[in-house]
Symmetry: C2
Subunit: 83 residues, 2 copies
């Protein structure tokens, strides 16, 4: 069976997000007011084969833990859909 | 009113995604088989004030077009929720 995973990897809430701070500071320069916080992370899509949804879920969880996310500084969440 | 936008900025489908290719090549090394494509982009959350949802939507659209996405090489999509 074929699956598509949609993953978000974000800096943990308690950590400073320097990239986000730069964006917050620059948005008024392009006429966008009223923004009080911006956080920037990774969006990853994975297209994969698995015998069922549970195996697909485990593979994606493993990919996140071992490769895509630095679990000390980042948190991740994902959804898996059959395609 | 307060809103939270969830934005994905991804490399356009027709473009090569070198980061994604590196991940595809390395996943078998950590025991994850069956992955045929990985695409890596940005996930951005924006917390903002706006008089209504339509204004919030326009502000986020503007932020994507002018700052967050390189519209030649990237595509973006987002949802805005009241919080």
């Amino acid at each position: 069976m074929k699956f598509l995973a949609h993953i978000n990897v974000m800096p943990k809430a308690e950590l400073l997000d320097p990239q986000g701070k730069v964006v917050v500071k620059n948005l008024p320069n392009i006429g966008i007011e009223g923004v009080d916080d911006v956080r920037i992370g990774k969006h990853v899509t994975i297209s994969l084969e698995a015998k069922d949804e549970s195996e697909a879920h485990d593979k994606v969880e493993n990919a996140c833990k071992k490769l895509l996310a630095n679990v000390i500084m980042e948190s991740y969440d994902f959804v898996v859909e059959e395609v």
